[in-house]
Each structure stands twice: as C-alpha cells, then as structure tokens.
C-alpha cells in the first residue's frame, strides 16, 4: 500500500506506483490540473529520490539542491516524457545525474580532483550534524565513498533501495551482467575495507 502525505487526493490507497504514474501523466495533459500533477509527483517520489541523492552527495544541503533541480528538470521534460520507460526509472536517472553534477561542481569549488571529493566527503561525515550513524555505519559510508563512481551508485541502489538488477539496468542504461559484476566488486572492496578497519 502506498501512502502519500498532503496529496491533493489524500492518497493512502492501494494504488501501485504504475497507477500513480498514469494518474500524474493524465493530470499533466490537462492545463488546469498541472499543479495537482506536480504536487502528486513530488509527494510520490521526493523521499526515494532524496535518499538516492543523499547517499551520493552525503551532505543534506547538496542533496536538497540536487532534489530541487531534479524536479525542475523533470517538470520541464515531463510533457515530452517517453512513456516506454516508467516515470520512476526516468526520475531516478535524472536524480543520479543531478547528484553527480553536484559532486563535480563541488570539486571545482574546492579546487580539488573529482576523486578527492570522495575523500573530502568522507572526512566531512564526522562533523555532519545530519549524520546519526554510529562508528561502524560511518566506516561503511567511508568504504562506499572509496568505490569508483559506478560501483558506488550500483551498490547504493542494490543494498539500500533493494532495486532489482533489471531496474538498475534500466536506470543506468547498462546490462544486468555488468551490474552484477560491479556490485560484486563493490561488496568485496567494502568488506575488505571494513575488516581491515576492525583489525
């Protein structure tokens, strides 16, 4: 069952994501109901997209910026949305790109390389007021940040969001086999890091 707070329809129904997507697209086609469509879109996806972004950018303010940009771009492109893929997959792709864009921007601002941004974020976790994790959780996040970009994204989607390989393949536009290999490598590296840290 899917519950959407503050929905124009007070949705707390058994509607599936696919049904909600259809409803959003239906409302968008009517100019008078576009605001309702936008609110339904944000209420349905903001949390999932926020956590996907947050795990990439680590910092809340950056996640907030990336989330806003994601919805702005989604809204601008929604009229031309190709219904061959699901709205959720499409939004996830935009969110991931926006999160990575934020990291590149941060590298430029700090005048450091893209790889060094991960180190910077890893160190910032200690003083982040919006990080409530304990020592082992912090070390896990640091291990994830040490991964190459693609492995990090695949690991987050698979481990935290529990998306299927097929869904991840659609979002990242890659093959399931490659994703499995990436995830396997990511897991090995993280476990090795955690074991070394615990010794």
């Amino acid at each position: 069952m899917l519950c959407i707070a503050n929905s124009p329809f007070f949705l707390c129904t058994s509607m599936t994501t696919t049904e909600i997507d259809k409803k959003i697209l239906e409302l968008i086609s009517n100019p008078d109901q576009q605001n309702q469509a936008l609110k339904l879109l944000i209420d349905t996806y903001q949390k999932r997209l926020y956590w996907q972004i947050r795990r990439i950018v680590i910092n809340h303010d950056d996640a907030d910026d990336a989330l806003q940009n994601t919805f702005i771009k989604a809204w601008q492109g929604l009229k031309n949305f190709n219904q061959n893929s699901s709205l959720f997959t499409w939004l996830y792709r935009i969110a991931t790109n926006e999160a990575l864009q934020i990291l590149r921007k941060k590298a430029q601002e700090k005048n450091i390389s893209y790889d060094d941004v991960a180190v910077y974020l890893s160190n910032s976790l200690v003083s982040d007021p919006y990080f409530k994790g304990d020592e082992i959780q912090r070390k896990l996040q640091q291990a994830i940040l040490r991964l190459p970009e693609k492995q990090r994204i695949v690991f987050n989607m698979r481990y935290y969001d529990e998306l299927s390989y097929e869904e991840i393949a659609e979002i990242l536009n890659t093959s399931v086999g490659a994703l499995k290999a990436s995830y396997h490598h990511a897991v090995s590296k993280i476990e090795e890091y955690l074991l070394n840290q615990s010794e």
């Binding site: 936008l38 944000i42 926020y50 989330l67 702005i72 919006y130 990080f131 959780q137 481990y159 897991v187």
Partner: protein, 196 residues
Amino acid sequence: MKNEKNILDYPHLKENPFKVPENYFDTNSLKIITKIHSTSSKNFYDVPDDYFETNALKLKEKLLSASSKNAFTYPEGYFENTEKKLFKEIQSLAHPKSRIIPLIRTTGIAASLALFILTTYVVLQPKPISHSEITKNKDCHTLACLTKKDISKDLEYLDEPDIEEALSEKDIEKLFNSKNYPSSSPINSNTVNETF
C-alpha cells in the same frame, strides 16, 4: 568469504545513518513547487508563433548561402588598380630601356678624359727656344749660337765642295725656288743663315 558477507548482512548496517531537518519532507513539496513556478516565470520575453520551428530552417538557409560565399575579402578597388599596374609592367617589358644612352654617356666621359690628358700634355710640353733666347746666353759655345757675321766670316775659309757637302741638294733647290735667286748669283751670308 562467508564471514565477510555476514558483515553487510548485519541489519544494523542497512539502517539509514542519515537524517534530515525536522518537517523537511512536509514542507519540501511546497518549496519545490514555488521554485518551479518562479523558474518557469523567469522568462519575461515571448517569441512569435512557430519561431523555433521555422528558425532551424532559416538558419540552414543562411548557412547554405553563407557557405557559397567567399570567406576572404580584398581591398577596395584592388582589381581596378591591379589592371593598371599589370598594364604598366607589361609595357615596360615590351619596351626595355635603350642601351645606347649609357654607351654614349660612357664614351663622352672617356673622350673628355682623353682630351683633358692630351691638353695637359700639350700645355706641359717644353716650348722650342728661339734663336734670340739662345744668343742671349753669352757663354754659349754651340753651333746655334753663331750669328750671321760669324758664319759669313767662317764661310771664307770653306771650299765650295765643303759647302755643297754641308747642304743637301734638295735644300738648295727648295731655297732657290722659293726666293727666286739668280742661278749665277753667289750664295751670300744671309741665304746661308736662313737655311739653318
């Protein structure tokens, strides 16, 4: 390997370690909607109907017409001036400068130089000394210093054959022809002096 897998399977690790400010998601939708509306209303300018649809075609036409034009330019009146320049050049090639004038000039200079040298030579040449100048010198003991009297006096001691020997036939003949002397008249001292 089995132990390593257990680390990530530990439920505590899967818990979300991040948090958000209070009521973040409750207020977020309104914030995003406001931002989207402000973003979409930022553009105060409008374009004519079908502007973007026809613009691509216009641009293509412009590019095609531009590509057929020569991208290089040349100074104003270049070809007009070039024609004149070329014409002059061709004319000068067809009528090369005469070589006679420099030859005349060289010859003139050489002739002037030669004339100058000759004049200098003539001017610097020693003048022939007249008899009066020679006789001025009292200590002169040469034949040229002899006066008419000295000679006529000396002639008295000479035989006729000696005189004839001293004077060539031609000189005597020339002398007689020019002065119309009578063939019988004896040679006087004046005549002898003139032949010298």
